[in-house]
Structure formats: C-alpha cells, structure tokens
Amino acid sequence: MKHMRGRLALILTICTLLTLMVQGTATLAEGGAKWLKLAESFAYPSLDAHRDYYGWYTSIYGVTETLFRVADDLSIEPLLAENYEVSEDGKTWTFHLADARFSNGAPVTADMVARNLERLATLNERFAYLSDFTFTTDGDRTLVIETPGVYPTMLSDLTAPETAIMDLDGTSDFDGAPIGTGPFVVKSFEPEGTVEVEKNAAYWNGEVKLDGVTFYYMQDDDSKLMAMQAGEIDGYTSVTAAAKEIFSADPDTYTVTSIPATRLQFYVLNENRLDGAVRAAINLAVDCDALAAYLGGTVSPAVGPFSAAAPYGQVTKPAPDPDAARALLEEDGYVLNAGGVYEKDGAPLQVNICYYAARALDSIALLMQEQLGNIGIDAALTVQEDPDATYVATGDYDIALYCMIADKAGDPYYCIDALYRKNSKWALGGFPTEDSEALIDALQYETDVDQRAALANAVVQMTIDDNAFGYVGLFNKTTVTRKGVSGISENCPFDFYSVSAETEME
C-alpha cells in the first residue's frame, strides 16, 4: 500500500511538471492577432502621466500624446496642437488645437488642455513653473498661454511627455486606467510590472496597425537577451554591446538599429586646480573614438553635448594628439621624470578623476587613466556612489565624470543652463565667465530658432576652447526587433517614444 502511495505521488509530480511545461509551451505559442511584445527596463507604479516621470511611459505605451512632439531629426512638430502664434513681445502664445479625440470619444478642448497643464503644475515639482503662466481659452479649440517673461522654450516644453493631455473628467483612476488620445488604450496594468495596451479603434490620427502591445518589465540584460532568443518578445531598446554582437550576427532573424541619442557622457576640468596647459593637454590626450570603440558601439564619440545632426550641435574640437599634449606640458615647464610622469618644481603632475559606477563611466575613467598615463599624467581614480552629494557638490575634483540627458526635447537651453550657468552645480569647476553668462542670458530670451542655435554653438565652443569641459560620448539608442517589426521609434533619439499608430509587425 505504501509503495502504491509512493508511486502515485511520483506520477502526480510528473503530471504536474508536464502540465507546467505544456502551459509554458502554450503561452509561447499563443498569438494570431497582431500583438507585439516588448521589454522595458523601467516600470512605474502608476500611469498618471502628470506625476513624476510616469508620462514617459504612458507615451512609450502609446496611451498619451502631447501638444507637440519631437521628430526623429530633432525638429518640433505639432501633434494635438494644429498650429500656433506667438505675440510680438514673445509673452503670449496662442495654440489652435487639432480636431483630436480621447479614446472614449470625448473631444480634446482648450479648457481640458489648460486644466491638464494646471494639474501638472501642482503635481510635478519639475513643472511647477507652469503655475506662473496664465491659461485662457477662446472657444473649444483655442488656448492662450501668457507668460510673465519671454519664454522661447515653450514649444520644447510642450513636447515633454509629462505635458500629456488626459481626459480629466472621463475617469478618476489616473493611476491604473488614464484616458488619453494615443493610438492605444490601457487593457491591463500591473503596478511596476507588465502593461498591456490594445488598439484605440477610434484613434483620431489615423488607422492603428497593431491590435495591441504587451510591455514586460525586464530590468536584467540577460533576461531580455534570452527572452528575445526564446521568441517571447519582439524587441527592446538599450541593447548591451554583448547582446548587440549576438543579434547582429543573425541578420535573418533580428534587426539592430543604433543611433546617437541624447544622453551625454562628459567630464569637467576644474579650472581652479588645473592650469590652462594641463587642461588642454588632458583634452588632447583623451581619445573619444578609442573610448567609444572600447564601449562596443554603445556610445558615439561626442564633439559637444548635442548631436552633430542638430543645428545647435555645430562645434569643433581638436583631434586627439598625445605628442601635442606632451609638448604643451613641456612648454608649461613640466619635465618628464624617471618614472615617466611629468613634474614641475619636483611635484609630479597628478590628477584626480572622480566618477560613479553607472552609464559606463567606470570604464571611461579607467581608459582615461590609461590615456593620461600615456602622456605622463598620473591619474588617480575616486569612485563615489552619489556624485551630486559628493564631488559635484564640493568641487573636490580635478576631473569630474558625469552623465545626463543633454537634449531634453529639441532645444539647447536646458542643457546649457544646467551645465554652464554661474548658479549651476558645475560652476565650482570655474568655467562661467561674464561673456558666457551674457551669451546664455541672450539664449534664454532669443525666440529665433537660428539665432538660438548660433548662441548655443558659441557658448559650447567657448567651453571647448577654454578646455573647461570634455565631451566623451553620446549614448546610442540601440534597438533590436524581430525581423518584420518596425516603427517602435528606433530612429528617434528620445527615450520616451516607442509604439505609434504606424508600428507594424508582419
């Protein structure tokens, strides 16, 4: 009897395992509809586009849209706004809305847009400045925004995914099921987990080609790679160098797209500690092409903080030249000692590179140490967990490595204001001058797009000529898709776009 029971238990165990396996196979084989499966590296507990950075993801999920959007070529194009006018004094912006509708069929009115922007101002610290603006409406389709001063970055600001327009009257569940104007509507939402969206059959801006999309939250790079290989997902972005190599080796199955994006790796040279010749020598020694090559195609070498494709990315910097770097140091009175390190008045030329171990800055720090060593500069590395609370805050660095989004939405002012202003956290590096401040002041209020680009280029060139900054690389946005999948914003440098009405799978 006992033997019988044991056998029965064994048979039951085997049956359970087999059921699991069959279920697993069924999940893998399910389909039929045009249902795309993508992996995302981040997931949030809410879909309220106005809070925190959640709007980035409602935009990625194709649920919400904004008045304007940034095109692949970094130009700003209208979306929910059909067109706009700005007054002579640059303080009154009049927007004429497109005949757009929310997914529940309600029209997008000027009043609803105004209420959305006012809600954003109260819920999101980064957009609190919107509360200084006055919103008035003229009929259902005209919104007037008055600003206290000239505000040339208005259009750029209105491309931010947090400025998404939702139907504030259609639901109270903004966390789980917001009503947007996008090509997809929320089907199911698991906080900080999987999100399913389905076709918005009444999409106002054209026919939606897919039936739906599932976004799996997968933080781990190996999990994404293997899910792709197992055929469980159809694509993802932020592909690592190793995974890119694997996918690129199988072009019949996968399509890999890599474009320079907007996240900048750079370093600040502390002018209070390093004289001009040393800073120039350092910049001549750092070979960004070699750094980018070492990082396996995950970054593109940078000249300035912005993509060279942008009108405000037109700057130049000298090519790396170790011999010229050595010559500069020798002209400055440094002599090479027996250990291969330059010294002056008996003091070796030592610099401290501060970095934090994220966004490949640890690899860059090591390579820079080696490259500086090649020209006789002894570089020590200091790693910190939180740069903002340590070396950036104290200015206790010779070279400070950092990474940030440089181009938020098709305009250079945000980055220039953050990096080069006298009141910025980087001012401890000693760069800001009266001249640079005057140029940035002019940029702040300049409304002409060409003039803005010219001013931005002038400021950035100043930082290069002064050897105040070194621009290492722009992270590439690398996307892999299964063959036949297209239109997941793989050619758009911004992280907050993905699926659209045009997204297609064969």
């Binding site: 999940t27 999990s223 939180d386």
Partner: protein, 314 residues
C-alpha cells in the same frame, strides 16, 4: 508557563530591537551622502535647477533636523502608519505587503523543494558513506554550494527557456513564473542543507547508543528514527536561519526572474534614498527574524519536551 514567558520575553525584545534598528538605520541613511529629492528628480538623468531641488527637499521635509524627522516617523509608525514612499508617494505598507507576499511564496516553495531533495539525499548519503551514492550526493552539494545564484539563473533560463522552451521568461507571478526562481534559489540551499544535514547525521550515527542498538539487534529503521529525531534540532536551526535570510529577499533572483519581492524593494529604496521604505523594510525584517526565532524555539520544545521543564533553550 515557560512557553508564555518565552513569548512575552521575545515580544519585549522585539520592541527594543525595532527601536534600535529603526533609529540606527535612520541615522545611517541620514549620514550617508545622497539626497532623496535629487534621486527622485534625476531619476531619468534629467538635470534640475537648484531652486526646484530645494523646493522639493522642503516639500519632502528633508530640510528638517534629524531628530525631528525620526521623531515624526516613529510617532506615525507607532500609530501603524509607515508613511508614503519618497520615490512615488504610494503607501509603504502596501508596498511591503505586496513584496512580502511574493517573497514568502518564493521562500516557502524554495525551502520546501530544497528540503524535499536534501533530506532523503543526506540520509542516504550518510547511511551509504563513501559509496557511489555518497560521492554523487557530495558532488551535487559541492556544485550547489559553489555556483553563484546569477549563474544558476542564467543556466536555467538558457536551457529551460531558450533551448527547450518549456518555461517562459515572460510568465508573470504564476506557478509557471515561480518554477525557475524557485529552482535557482533551491539549488544552493539544497547543497548547503545536504552538507550540513549529512554531517549532523554522521555525527549522530557515530554515537555509542547507535552502535549499541545495532549490536542489540534493534531494527535499522528504528535506529534511524531515533537518529533523525535527535538531529532534528540542529536541522531545524539550519532551516530557521535559511528562512530568515530568504525572507530578506534575493535581489539577484528577483531581478532576473521579474519576481519583485522584498530584496528588490529594499535595494531600490536604498538606491533612491527612500527612507520611509527602508525603515518599513527594516521593521518588517527584524520582526520576521524575531518571530522565526521564536517559532524555532517553540519547535525545539515541541521536539524535546525536556526543554520545557528546564525552561532553557536548545
């Protein structure tokens, strides 16, 4: 009576432990470089102005002195309110309950599986010492102990998902989704259990009462029963320690297999300087440790009633 004293004593200990760990954690987080406001605002790498940063610090109450911040938190916690996450504003208690549920499922299934494999194998290995079975079991134990979690996870994913395609990587919190993380956690535990259980059984088998019983002709199954009864206390200690560790969460497994439990919650909270979540986690884990230790002590008394009479602990 002795049991009641034990429970009462542990509960008093728990109050002191919770106060001490919460104060120390709050102090350490306060002293550590980093700023919850900056972490929240810079989450996607977007730079924000010092003005916005300062306003956010004020609105989050981070500009106030340490003792004020701790005192407010402690008073709220005493009322059962663990506050809201700095990162996303959602209630800490909800986050902890959700994560604890997932971790508990993973922990209990992994431990059950590990025990199911380790117990018979360790007994067999000890009884058949230096045989082929013993060698194979010890090899398995050695490999299980040596392989890091992430490597086991990657191997499981590769063979079960990519090659055989029997278990999906995209399974959510279902039985299917549980299999691989459970296996990845069980294998090292199993290796450890086999090694420690086998050693305990061998030590017990070497005792004179075992030789005497065998020489007197007592049937082996009865001898084995006595041996297992006598080694159950050290075995229980080993299992109890593992439960405590596992309930703290396993960041690697939880991240790789998309099973977001307590480990990942705590790690994310530390990275984001999300003090309310960290404090909640610390309170929860200290409570779990104390409760598990208490349960183990009670089990000792159940296994060996003499401990009740002496009032001592095993």
């Amino acid at each position: 009576m002795a049991v009641g004293r034990t429970i009462g004593g542990r509960l008093i200990h728990l109050i002191w432990i919770m106060f001490a760990v919460s104060f120390l954690t709050f102090l350490l987080m306060f002293l550590a470089p980093g700023d919850a406001a900056a972490k929240k605002l810079n989450a996607q790498g977007v730079a924000v102005s010092e003005e916005v940063l300062e306003q956010t610090r004020v609105s989050m109450g981070l500009d106030r002195p340490f003792l004020v911040q701790y005192g407010e938190w402690a008073l709220r916690a005493l009322r059962g309110d663990l506050g809201a996450s700095y990162k996303d504003g959602f209630p800490v208690a909800d986050k902890l309950v959700r994560a604890l549920g997932r971790t508990a499922v993973l922990t209990l299934s992994s431990l059950s599986l590990a025990l199911l494999i380790a117990l018979p194998l360790s007994v067999l290995s000890a009884l058949k010492r230096d045989s082929v079975i013993d060698d194979v079991t010890r090899l398995f134990s050695f490999i299980g102990n040596s392989l890091p979690n992430f490597l086991i996870s990657v191997l499981l994913m590769y063979f079960l998902s990519v090659r055989l395609r029997v278990l999906p990587l995209t399974a959510n919190e279902s039985v299917q989704g549980l299999v691989m993380p459970c296996l990845a956690l069980s294998i090292p535990i199993c290796g450890r259990f086999i090694r420690q259980f086998r050693a305990a059984i061998l030590e017990e088998l070497g005792k004179p009462y075992v030789s005497g019983a065998i020489l007197r002709g007592v049937r082996r199954r009865y001898v084995l029963k006595s041996v297992l009864h006598n080694v159950s206390i050290p075995m229980l200690t080993i299992v109890g320690l593992s439960v405590g560790t596992l309930l703290g969460g396993s960041v690697v497994i939880e991240t790789i297999f998309r099973w977001p439990g307590l480990g990942k919650l705590a790690m994310d909270a530390i990275s984001n300087r999300d003090y309310p979540v960290i404090q909640g986690f610390v309170l929860l884990t200290s409570t779990v440790y104390v409760v598990i230790n208490l349960l183990i002590d009670l089990c000792y008394r159940w296994i060996d009633p003499r401990l009740n009479e002496s009032g001592g602990e095993a």
